[in-house]
Symmetry: C2
Subunit: 483 residues, 2 copies
């Protein structure tokens, strides 16, 4: 072929700048990584340098898992056509996914991305309830589509972000460290806080009902990811779902980032809250990198959709290759007992991070479930002042140590760990040992943050955080000065 | 693995009915096909029966083309991660696609489906123009997402379909056989008709401008597919684009179904109208079945998007596997000279279909470009009465002859041919010879349409035509009676 598949990094950057929209941003913008190889929890750059991947929740069963690659290769060479033809891989996948769900969640729709899944979920809710008002959580992110940005305060809150439609209602995120109701600052039990947050949704439900006769849907990630690795207090979703259902609304659990066993104890994160949603959406880990996603709902809601008489056709949705790959991912999750592993390694990671809290003044909060862990950094523990600049610095320093982590949350001060599920206790130890060392550098007064090169500080970006960096520049300067 | 990848067809159907939303409809519903294998322009069912595929415009370079399969297999085993990391396949694909575009179309965004591409196109237009009003064509279909149904009269026109938003304006489709202005019934030249249709868009532009200060965008397939294989008259798009630009609007060419050389003479169907759009969207054929799609626009529009400061992140968009596969599709198009082939075989197919018009009273119109061909059936040539029942019957009869065709258009009476580009003149001959024979059966008064089994007649469905069948049942009965 005429094109060389290996060019100097500078040429890759030149072509990217010329021909790819600048709105598509690079991780470590001033010195981006060129990744050419992935194996399990490791990624390799063009020089052969190996990085421990602590953030890729898409490469769920490990980068390039041979069983998944083989399934894709095999099916690609047999047939890949649309779901207007019968195919076993499609129905097998549907049955297997349904088996992981509580009753009555038993009807699947296959799509290509978490965004498409959430768009379809809202469409199903609209058709079923014939209502329009949607309740979403503050800082929530549900996808890149127009319809999803409408319900994503993560985007709506940004300067230059689009206007929130009047039919979207934002409830406070149940963040008991930094949210509206906190623990232990408010000295209240987790259950009480959960109820207080749920009551906020109840209040919105009442307002919508009295105005428009009922709610369409409540949509939330079972554990909020972009919002800063939030673990809702016990009882929260149970009480929220009651309020929403009282208002005739549909409860949508967005499991795109946190599903497929990441929490360790359960296949789906909503199960940790002991609830049964009306619609569940899933994506990212489902195809280990292959574009496949799904919506699972009740026969009743699926029937409302079919009863419109309008066909739902998604060209690639449920094609045999996507389904074969998703089936292979399920195989690996089962055969390598990745839930058990996520629980075991996750607990180890969490307890080791907990110890950092007692050692480093910057560590304000440590939270997580399984291999979904957040470490929130603060410059002042009493006032919980976000340590945004420090978090940026740490992400960069960790990269120098060949460990990839990211940061997120409304103040971009929460270190995020959501590694491939094949992450080991040794990997967790390496991650925490290195983080410990980097935090020590910051503890050490001889290296104050203000002396850290700022041109490095302002460059790295996480998932979906670009413009927050613009807002935070001033905060950052303040927190740097505050030291 | 626990799951058998081969089960009786009855079991596949049982699981599908149980676990897949009924809104996802099967082709030939009463007796669907189970397709297990595809090679080039052929598909095979579970019994080994071979079908000539005359409708799969997704399997563009042929089902399971070995070069494409190999590219996918190879890249899947190396790395597939998101576009926040540099990768050569991404920038090579961007550069190659840009080289096929006229200036100043030079900036790419990669997504997973044509729907995602069109959604992003409208978002870009909104951000760039700061306007809201969209002009679309009647019968147009632009995707399955909420935002796309809003601009798809193909769905909006259906009973039970959602309400058309007030900011969507529908212009008549430039269908010179059945549309508002026709030839030769109106005895006007194609150019005059093109201008009349364009003037309709101009009128809408004027109305929007006087009310809201300017148009956001005009979106149209360069050749309308679901609307019934429509070939706009010469000069149409040129004049439309002038009107839209006078009203400060953006011109979006949807090449999702008709791009990548299908028209034979050009890589993109908009080139046949000698225009340069501001945004081009592409999908289906791009990955030969793999979920990959793209938006290409001008540096100016891309800059407006980047200037919002809001990152555009699409988890799978532009991943190395999707890009490697799309690059391989481009390789095959070039190396196997598929444009030349589409022109040659398409001309042969079209001229052979033309001859059918002189032989069979049912054939009202034959139109096409390259391997994008429509044969419109009528029960009365003078009144151009749609032969909907007959079209249904023919699709079923062709299936019995192991040839897969579909039908579409607002009256579901247009036979659609849009085969993989490796289609040969022999295939075209077999298609037309068989169609000739089936048409002869209908010409023969001894087999009137009313004696054709109706339970077969009402079952087959095309791309996105379900509820039209509901509407058309009465029409069908009428046309059957009319014979």
């Amino acid at each position: 072929m005429a094109y060389l598949q290996s060019m100097p990094k500078s040429e890759t950057i030149r072509l990217r700048e010329k021909h790819v929209g600048a709105a598509c941003q690079l991780f470590f913008r001033s010195s981006p990584l060129k990744i050419v190889r992935g194996i399990a929890q490791f990624m390799y750059d063009e020089t052969g340098e190996r990085y421990l991947d602590c953030i890729n929740n898409v490469a769920h069963v490990g980068h390039c898992h041979p069983h998944v690659v083989e399934a894709g290769r095999n099916q690609m060479s047999l047939i890949s056509t649309n779901n207007r033809y019968l195919h076993d891989e499609l129905v097998i996948l549907a049955e297997r996914l349904v088996k992981t769900m509580p009753e009555p969640l038993s009807v699947c729709f296959f799509v290509n991305s978490g965004s498409e899944a959430n768009d379809l979920a809202l469409r199903l809710a609209r058709i079923h309830t014939k209502k329009k008002d949607i309740i979403t959580l503050d800082h929530a992110y549900h996808g890149h589509l127009t319809s999803m940005i409408d319900v994503s305060p993560y985007k709506l809150n940004l300067p230059g972000g689009p206007e929130k439609p009047e039919w979207v209602h934002v409830a406070p995120v149940p963040d008991i460290y930094r949210g509206k109701y906190t623990y232990p600052k408010d000295s209240q039990s987790e259950e009480v806080l959960g109820q207080k947050y749920a009551d906020e949704v109840g209040k919105i439900c009442k307002e919508i009902s009295s105005k428009n006769g009922g709610v369409c849907a409540f949509i939330a990630e079972s554990l909020q990811s972009c919002g800063g690795q939030i673990i809702p207090p016990d009882g929260y979703l149970k009480s929220v779902f009651e309020y929403v259902r009282e208002a005739d609304g549909i409860c949508i659990a967005d499991e795109v980032q946190v599903g497929f066993g990441r929490v360790g104890t359960h296949m789906w994160a909503f199960e940790t809250q002991d609830v049964v949603p009306d619609i569940v959406t899933m994506g990212k880990p489902m195809g280990n990198g292959h574009p496949v996603a799904a919506v699972i709902t009740t026969p009743e809601i699926a029937k409302s959709f079919a009863d419109t008489g309008i066909e739902y056709f998604n060209t690639y949705g449920g094609n045999p290759v996507s389904c074969a790959i998703a089936n292979a991912v399920l195989d690996v999750i089962e055969e390598e007992r990745l839930l058990e592993r996520a629980a075991r390694v996750g607990n180890h990671l969490l307890s080791r991070c907990e110890k950092l809290k007692h050692k480093h003044r910057l560590v304000g909060d440590v939270r997580g479930r399984g291999l979904f862990v957040g470490v929130e950094l603060v410059t002042d523990r009493e006032r919980r002042t976000p340590a945004t600049a420090e978090a940026k610095h740490i992400v960069n320093r960790m990269r120098e140590e060949k460990i990839l982590i990211s940061r997120d949350g409304p103040d971009s001060n929460v270190l995020k760990f959501k590694p491939p599920m094949v992450f080991s206790t040794q990997d967790a130890d390496r991650l925490v040992d290195t983080l410990d060392r980097v935090l020590s550098e910051l503890d050490d007064e001889r290296i104050p943050v203000k002396n850290i090169k700022l041109e490095v500080l302002v460059t790295p970006l996480n998932e979906e955080t670009s413009s927050k960096d613009l807002i935070l520049k001033s905060n950052m300067k303040q927190s740097v000065k505050a030291m």
